[in-house]
C-alpha cells in the first residue's frame, strides 16, 4: 500500500465515524510490519524504496536548494568548477605540455572529460559523507537508508545539467556538429550515476563505522582522476598498458562520452562493456554490504 492510498483511507473516515474503529479492528487489512530479531531485515527492499520515492525527491531538492543558498554566485559554481579547471588544464597540458586530444580542440576535450568527471567526483564525495551528515535523521526516524546517498548523487545530476549547458556552448563555438551519437549520452550518464551511487553508497556505509573514510575520500578521488583519461586521451598510452586503464570503469565512460559528443569516431564498445560489467559488480556489492551495515547505523553513527 503506498502512502498516498493510505492517507486517503484515513482521511475518508471522519472523526467519530464507527468505520474508523471498524477499520482498525481488522488489522489484517492494514500494512503489517514485523520486526523480528532473528531475521535481520530492517529494510524492506525495492518495494519499500519505491514507496519512499518522494522522500528521495525531497532530499535531492533540499540538497540542491541548500547548496547555493547564501552564496554569492549561486548555481554558477556548478559551471565554474569544471570551467576554471579546464582553463588551467588547457594552459598546462594543452599549451605547455601539448598533450594530444584525438583531433578535438584541447579545451573542448578537457571540458567534456571534466563535466562527467566533476559529476562523478562530487557525487561520490557527497554521498560518501551523506550518512554521517544525516546522523540526526538516522537516529530519529526510519526510512530506507539507501535514500540518503542516492539523494546526494541525484543532486549531482542537477549540477551536471548546468555544466552541460556550457558544454553545448563550447561545441557551438568550436563548430562541432550534432550527430545521432548524442543519444548515447543518456545511457552513459545513467551508467555514471550507477557507478557513483555504488561507490558512494559503499563509502557512506563504511564512513559510519570508520571515520577514516572521510579523509580517504578526497585522496581517492584525486588518484582516480589521474587514472582516468581526463587530461590525456587513452590513445596517448602505450598499447600494452591500455588494458589496465580500461579496468577503470570510468575509462570506458569518458572515452565514449567524448565520442557521443563529437561523433568523430566509432564507439569503443569493448571498453564500454567492461565499464558496464564492473559497474554492475560494484553496485551489487555495494547494495549487499550496505544492507549488512545498515542494521547498525542508528547505533553507531
Amino acid at each position: 500500500m503506498t502512502s498516498e492510498t493510505f492517507s486517503k483511507t484515513v482521511l475518508e473516515s471522519k472523526p467519530g465515524d464507527p468505520n474508523t474503529n471498524g477499520l482498525l479492528a481488522s488489522p489484517s487489512k492494514q500494512p503489517v510490519v514485523i520486526i523480528d530479531a532473528s531475521k535481520s531485515s530492517v529494510s524492506g527492499g525495492l518495494r519499500e524504496l519505491w514507496a519512499y520515492r518522494e522522500l528521495l525527491y525531497f532530499l535531492t531538492w533540499r540538497d540542491v536548494k541548500v547548496r547555493y543558498k547564501q552564496t554569492l554566485l549561486g548555481a554558477t559554481w556548478a559551471i565554474l568548477q569544471p570551467l576554471l579547471t579546464m582553463l588551467i588544464f588547457n594552459l598546462l597540458f594543452g599549451r605547455l605540455a601539448r598533450i594530444p586530444s584525438d583531433g578535438v580542440p584541447y579545451p573542448l576535450f578537457a571540458y567534456s572529460g571534466l563535466v562527467i568527471w566533476t559529476f562523478f567526483a562530487n557525487s561520490v564525495t557527497n554521498s560518501g559523507n551523506s550518512l554521517v551528515g544525516s546522523a540526526h535523521l538516522i537516529t530519529k526516524i526510519y526510512f530506507p537508508r539507501m535514500i540518503v546517498p542516492a539523494g546526494a548523487v541525484a543532486a549531482g545530476l542537477v549540477d551536471l545539467a548546468l555544466a552541460f549547458v556550457v558544454q553545448i556552448g563550447l561545441m557551438i563555438y568550436y563548430g562541432v556538429h550534432a550527430t545521432w551519437a548524442l543519444l548515447m549520452l543518456v545511457p552513459l550518464v545513467l551508467l555514471t550515476t550507477m557507478l557513483a551511487l555504488g561507490v558512494g553508497m559503499w563509502l557512506s556505509g563504511l564512513n559510519v563505522k570508520y571515520r577514516d573514510i572521510r579523509y580517504a575520500i578526497p585522496f581517492l578521488i584525486q588518484l582516480w582522476m589521474f587514472a582516468s583519461p581526463i587530461i590525456y586521451p587513452v590513445s596517448l598510452l602505450p598499447q600494452k598498458w591500455r588494458w589496465a586503464v580500461t579496468l577503470n570503469p570510468l575509462t570506458g565512460i569518458i572515452q565514449n562520452f567524448r565520442i557521443a559528443l563529437f561523433g568523430n569516431q566509432p564507439f569503443v564498445w569493448k571498453s564500454l562493456a567492461i565499464s558496464a560489467g564492473i559497474t554492475t559488480l560494484v553496485v551489487t556489492y555495494a547494495v549487499y554490504s550496505f544492507h549488512r551495515m545498515e542494521r547498525r547505523f542508528a547505533d553507531i553513527v
Binding site: 503506498t2 502512502s3 498516498e4 493510505f6 492517507s7 484515513v10 482521511l11 473516515s13 472523526p15 467519530g16 474508523t20 474503529n21 477499520l23 482498525l24 479492528a25 481488522s26 488489522p27 489484517s28 492494514q30 500494512p31 503489517v32 510490519v33 514485523i34 520486526i35 523480528d36 530479531a37 532473528s38 535481520s40 530492517v42 518522494e54 522522500l55 525527491y57 525531497f58 532530499l59 531538492w61 533540499r62 536548494k65 541548500v66 543558498k69 547564501q70 540526526h136 535523521l137 538516522i138 537516529t139 530519529k140 526516524i141 526510519y142 526510512f143 559510519v208 563505522k209 570508520y210 571515520r211 577514516d212 573514510i213 542494521r295 547498525r296 542508528a298 547505533d299 553507531i300 553513527v301
Partner: protein, 436 residues
C-alpha cells in the same frame, strides 16, 4: 479486539566501549585483526548492557499509552525499536498499521530553508506524501501560528516559532500508530496545551498513541494506560493514574531530587549552571511525599561560572492538571543587588504548610537576571512531589473526606461572632481581617 501492537520478549543489547566512542577507526580494526587473526571479533574488552530485556505487552487500537520510567530505563530504546530506527537483539514486534514516529520535534528541519519548504521536507521525512502535505498545508500553518513568516528561513525563527512549526507538521501526521518521545516538554504552556488536545484528538479518532514522557500529569491526563519501565523491564502496566502514583511513591522515580553531576551538560550557560534541585521537608529529609500541613523547601543548587552578574533563582510550581500554581523568585535582599562571585550556591524557598492542594506538584527551576531580562536556565519538570493529606482532622479539609478540589488549599483563619443581623456578621469579619 485484535491488538494493533504486539511486543514479545523484546531485548536490546548495547556494547559500551571503554573508549566511549561507538564507532571505531580503521586502524583499530586492522590492528586488532592483525594481533589476533584467529578470533575475528576481538571485542571481549567491551562491556555489554541490556537496555531492554524481556519486554512484552499488547496494545489495542485506539489506546493512548504513556511510557514512564527513570532516565536510562529503556523508554527511548523501546520507541526506537518500534519505529524501526534500531533493531532489537531478541524478540519480536508486530505492528498492524502505518507507524508514524516523532522522536524529536523538527527532525530534518533545515535552517536555510523557509517555513514553507521545511513543511514539505519534514512532512516527507515523517512519511507524508506531497499531495497529503499540500492538502494539510494551510491547517499546519494555522496551527503553528506562523502565517507571516512562512517564507522566511527557519534559522531566523524564534525558538518558540520553530518548535511550533515542527510540532504542527507532526501533529498532522495521521498514521494508525503514533510514537512520540518527549515532545510535550517544548513550547510555551498554551501551545503545549494545544498539542495535548491535538494528541487527545488523535486518540479519540481511533488512532493508537504510544508516548514517552517525564511529565506525569500529562501521562495521567492523556492516556488511560501507562507502562512503567525500569532497567529495561516492564515493572508495571495498568491504569495510568495507578502506575504514575506508584512510580512517584516508589523511590524509583526519585522525583524529589535531581542532580547534574556533569557540569558541561548541566542546564545553563557560561554564566551559571544548574547542579541540583531537591524537595526537602522541615526535618531536612529529601522526600517526594509531603504532608499537606507542613512546610516544604525547594532547594536549587547552582554554580556560578562567571562573576559579576545579578542572579535570581526562581521556581515555577505546576499541579497535575498543568495549572501554574505560582511563580516565586528569590527576594532575599542580600543577593538581589549583589553581583555573584564564582561559587556554588544553594537557595531554598520555603513554601508554608496548608498551602497546596493534594496531588502531584511539578517544579520548574530557573535562574534569571531581571534587568535586562535573561534566563540562564529554565529546567522544566526538575522535581516533583506529592502532597498528601493524612486525614487527621487538622488540615484544611477538616472532617470532610470527599473530593476537595481547588488549586490551593489554604487553612484560613475563621472567626465567628453571633449574628444579630446579616450585615453585622459581615462587618465583624472585616474588622477581624484588618486587625490581623
Amino acid at each position: 479486539m485484535e491488538p494493533i501492537i504486539k511486543v514479545q520478549n523484546l531485548g536490546k543489547q548495547y556494547r559500551i566501549g571503554s573508549d566511549r566512542s561507538a564507532y571505531s577507526t580503521l586502524r583499530e580494526t586492522l590492528v586488532s585483526k592483525f594481533r589476533s587473526p584467529l578470533n575475528g571479533r576481538n571485542r571481549s574488552a567491551h562491556k555489554k548492557i541490556w537496555a531492554l530485556s524481556d519486554v512484552g505487552f499488547e496494545i489495542n487500537p485506539g489506546e493512548v499509552v504513556g511510557i514512564i520510567g527513570r532516565n536510562g530505563a529503556g523508554k527511548s530504546t523501546l520507541l526506537k525499536i518500534l519505529s524501526r530506527v534500531t533493531e532489537p537483539t531478541t524478540g519480536r514486534v508486530e505492528l498492524h498499521g502505518r507507524v508514524g514516529s516523532l522522536l524529536e520535534v523538527g527532525t530534518g528541519f533545515h535552517p536555510e530553508l523557509s517555513g514553507r519548504e521545511n513543511i514539505f521536507l519534514n512532512g516527507a521525512i515523517l512519511g507524508m506524501s506531497r499531495t497529503e502535505i499540500a492538502r494539510k498545508f494551510d491547517d499546519i500553518v494555522a496551527f503553528a501560528e506562523v502565517e507571516k513568516f512562512i517564507d522566511t528561513p527557519v534559522k531566523r525563527y524564534s525558538s518558540g516559532m520553530y518548535v511550533r512549526l515542527a510540532f504542527a507538521v507532526a501533529a498532522y501526521l495521521e498514521p494508525e500508530i503514533l510514537l512520540v518521545d518527549e515532545v510535550l516538554a517544548v513550547g510555551d504552556a498554551s501551545f503545549q496545551r494545544k498539542c495535548l488536545d491535538r494528541m487527545k484528538d488523535v486518540g479519540r479518532h481511533g488512532r493508537t498513541v504510544l508516548f514517552v514522557s517525564h511529565n506525569m500529569p500529562a501521562v495521567t491526563r492523556l492516556g488511560e494506560r501507562a507502562i512503567l519501565l525500569d532497567q529495561g523491564t516492564v515493572l508495571q502496566d495498568g491504569p495510568s493514574h495507578k502506575v504514575v502514583g506508584s512510580y512517584l511513591k516508589s523511590g524509583l522515580g526519585t522525583m524529589a531530587a535531581r542532580e547534574w553531576p556533569d557540569l558541561a551538560t548541566a542546564p545553563g550557560n557560561d554564566i551559571v549552571r544548574l547542579r541540583a534541585v531537591r524537595v526537602r521537608t522541615e526535618a531536612g529529609d529529601v522526600s517526594d511525599a509531603v504532608d499537606i500541613r507542613y512546610p516544604v523547601g525547594i532547594e536549587i543548587e547552582f554554580e556560578v561560572l562567571q562573576p559579576g552578574h545579578l542572579l535570581i533563582p526562581n521556581l515555577h510550581v505546576t499541579n497535575e492538571e498543568g495549572v501554574l500554581v505560582f511563580i516565586a523568585a528569590d527576594s532575599d535582599p542580600t543577593w538581589r543587588r549583589t553581583q555573584r562571585p564564582v561559587e556554588r550556591f544553594v537557595s531554598t524557598a520555603w513554601i508554608p504548610g496548608n498551602f497546596f492542594s493534594e496531588g502531584t506538584m511539578i517544579v520548574a527551576a530557573a535562574v534569571s537576571t531581571m534587568d535586562p531580562v535573561a534566563i540562564h536556565f529554565f529546567e522544566r519538570d526538575a522535581v516533583a512531589f506529592q502532597v498528601i493529606d493524612k486525614f487527621e482532622g487538622d488540615s484544611a479539609r477538616g472532617d470532610f473526606a470527599g473530593s476537595f478540589p481547588g488549586v490551593v488549599r489554604p487553612k484560613l483563619r475563621w472567626t465567628t461572632g453571633r449574628a444579630e443581623s446579616g450585615m453585622a456578621a459581615t462587618t465583624n469579619l472585616e474588622v477581624e481581617e484588618r486587625a490581623s
